[in-house]
Symmetry: C2
Subunit: 425 residues, 2 copies
């Protein structure tokens, strides 16, 4: 009686999208960051869009409650963008908050309620101390079970994931290093990335700084040598080191969605949402499986491919949730791009580089682009949208035709997963 087929009443398309610069912006609030992303997004609409034709807002945000001591962001952002009295709803799913906001915006249009919807995501993290950030991020896990009883932190859980993966497949830290190197290579081509530099650049700068201070300069042969040096890349939670972790970031991202039947009014380059899938999972401590795969991701991937009627091999490129380097490796396996255990090999052989058959995180990923948690899902989606339209600038994928792009956005340790497939029609 209950249907298993997921089909929307009408198709939904993307007509605009952008991100604010990601980084550390002491003078900006969430509202300011959203205004930056919104202004930039309006400029990406090919034809005329009167902002007053936007009918509703969905704002993804993890915990401005803790970071800024400000909740009820929806109405404040609607006001700040000049869009009151339009409905404005905040959507929360930890680091997947704005992937979920995109999905809610899509369903609201598909329901017939609206034709044009603004979806945004934002987080302002840098005003908190590192200890506070650790404490605030922990509220995305099961605080009673995982924090109070097991004393787990997010780096701790992903370190356990890396260790389990190493033990099962014989991978090592050397595989992780290459994920970081590759994503910083991509970030170096993204002017909005928090780390708009290769790790070799980072190494050279470090050398210069040490020299300028009259300190001994290590004889690092290359960026790998640099990453292997505990002084340059200290341990955070073994086997994860500093450059295995995404940074603490401020930033926002924003997209404009429209019913497919009116999308032609705004663009000749229609990108439609081909699939949207969302799942949840219990805390990892209660899983029956090992930690080398996230059940919520596997389930969401199956649903997304079913809804789109495509196979993993049909996907031309993807933005995946690399909050830590091992997360990218297992994501490429859970999404079906590589066999279990082969994600690390693929990463080490740069089979996921920008000019490869399966480019992963050409934006720089969370690792280099930055990870303002509530903005990340939409930052991924707007990157895929730009790549599909051929407007990704210096980092545009040019060696292959792009038709289908996928985003993989995870909340907590896979407690929430949301996957989208966009198609250039």
């Amino acid at each position: 009686m209950i249907k298993t087929e997921r089909k929307l009443g009408r198709d939904v398309a993307v007509i605009g999208g952008a991100m604010s610069p990601f980084g550390v912006f002491p003078e900006k609030t969430s509202r300011d960051l959203m205004a930056d992303a919104y202004t930039a997004a309006l400029e990406t609409v090919d034809k005329q869009l009167d902002p007053q034709d936007i009918e509703a807002l969905y704002i993804g945000n993890f915990t401005s409650d803790l970071f800024e001591h400000q909740s009820h962001l929806g109405h404040l952002i609607a006001d700040w963008l000049g869009l009151s009295p339009r409905p404005a709803t905040r959507i929360e799913g930890a680091c997947a908050s704005s992937g979920l906001a995109f999905r809610e915006g899509m369903m609201a249009i598909a329901s017939g309620m609206y034709d044009i919807v603004l979806v945004g995501g934002v987080e302002k993290m840098s005003s908190a101390s590192t200890e506070e950030v650790q404490e605030y991020l922990a509220v995305a896990s099961d605080v009673q079970l995982e924090v109070e009883q097991a004393a787990l932190t997010f780096p701790g859980i992903f370190a356990a994931i890396a260790s389990a993966y190493f033990a099962k497949y014989g991978a090592t830290r050397e595989h992780l290093l290459r994920v970081a190197v590759k994503n910083h290579e991509n970030g170096a081509l993204n002017p909005n990335a928090q780390y708009n530099a290769t790790l070799r650049d980072v190494m050279e700068r470090r050398k210069e700084t040490l020299q300028a201070r009259g300190k001994p300069v290590p004889d690092w042969a290359d960026e790998y040598d640099f990453l292997r040096d505990e002084r340059a890349n200290p341990v955070v939670a073994a086997p994860l080191h500093l450059f295995d972790c995404s940074p603490i970031s401020d930033g926002a991202a924003c997209m404009i969605l429209a019913a497919a039947e009116v999308a032609d009014n705004f663009t000749d380059e229609v990108v439609r949402i081909r699939a949207s899938a969302q799942t949840s999972a219990p805390p990892p401590a209660t899983w029956n499986s090992d930690l080398t795969s996230l059940p919520a991701v596997q389930a969401a991937a199956r649903q997304a491919y079913d809804m789109a009627g495509v196979l993993p091999s049909d996907i031309d490129f993807a933005e995946v949730h690399d909050c830590f380097t091992p997360a990218e490796i297992i994501a490429t396996e859970d999404l079906g791009f590589f066999q279990p255990g082969q994600g690390a090999v693929a990463a080490a052989e740069f089979q996921t580089a920008r000019n490869s058959d399966m480019p992963i995180n050409v934006s720089g990923g969370l690792k280099a682009k930055g990870h303002p948690v509530g903005a990340t899902g939409l930052a991924q989606l707007q990157e895929v949208w730009h790549q599909l339209r051929g407007t990704a600038g210096q980092r545009q994928i040019t060696h292959k035709d792009l038709r289908l792009g996928l985003t993989h956005n995870v909340g907590g340790t896979g407690g929430t997963c949301v996957i989208h497939i966009l198609e250039h029609v």
Copy 2:
């Protein structure tokens, strides 16, 4: 080009609904409270519903981040209810959070994505101190503008609203008292209400307590006399006194929605969602109007009546957002039930009592039923659903036929408003 008509792709019906008891439950977390409401809601489904046929969850919650130091509630509640790996999304709009969750669930079904959706709302407030509650609730306002610069609190803003109303229309505290008396009369008939007692009962108990303690017992003639006594009913923010304010509460509410085309499988008493309207507004300090009306409510009411194709006079009864007694009075005006300035008169003459032509807050309202902020919207909606079906127990409205019931749920000081009209088909 952009449509103004709000019409869903397919109709959505309610097939189950309940609330947990509201009150102070030191031993219960948000998850426990939601489980209580969910279990009760399942029991209200007339025919068989296999819980595994529920396809998605929307959880309204204001700030478990601050109250419980736990966010990412969606996946935890899905797990707790045995509904993993279903998608679970938290929706936030301050005190309107679960009215918005209901609306998102409705649109998700109307979009074609799901046939059956669970919508819940929860807040666990009582573990915080009174000072903390004040501080945490304040994050629903514009903290920079209203709290840091203007030092406003919610009782303070609603006191300003009451003062403006008094000045404009010549109303007095005597009008407010009657709202409290009426809502406690209703709460006395609601076994799930935090204050399951009339104010006369409260007065008698106070007398008994004082007598038992050997203290002087005031010679209160009736409950009005009691409320006028500053010792029994101290000032909170003039002209508001203690019994003008809704209490600090723990609680949850839950409803089950289904596509209208499958609703017959679950019930013969189909209640469908006839209208859903949501609006936002800037902070009150920036309004061009006076404080005797909430612009977001007026706008949402117009949209709701338009969508339903009905007039205010067609509504048979309503649950309105009486976080403070003056809020109920201006709500009944903004919703078009009474002319501006007449809401106070109507309240004082008990034209909104349970057995009147326009029963308002037969559940006891936020005032007597309690106000766990994230649960309130759905607590209103499940009350309207039960009244329409004739399953509201002792407080069932019996003197008139009920076809259309309205809920009015407000976030902050009207920063968010969401209005629903349910119809017994």
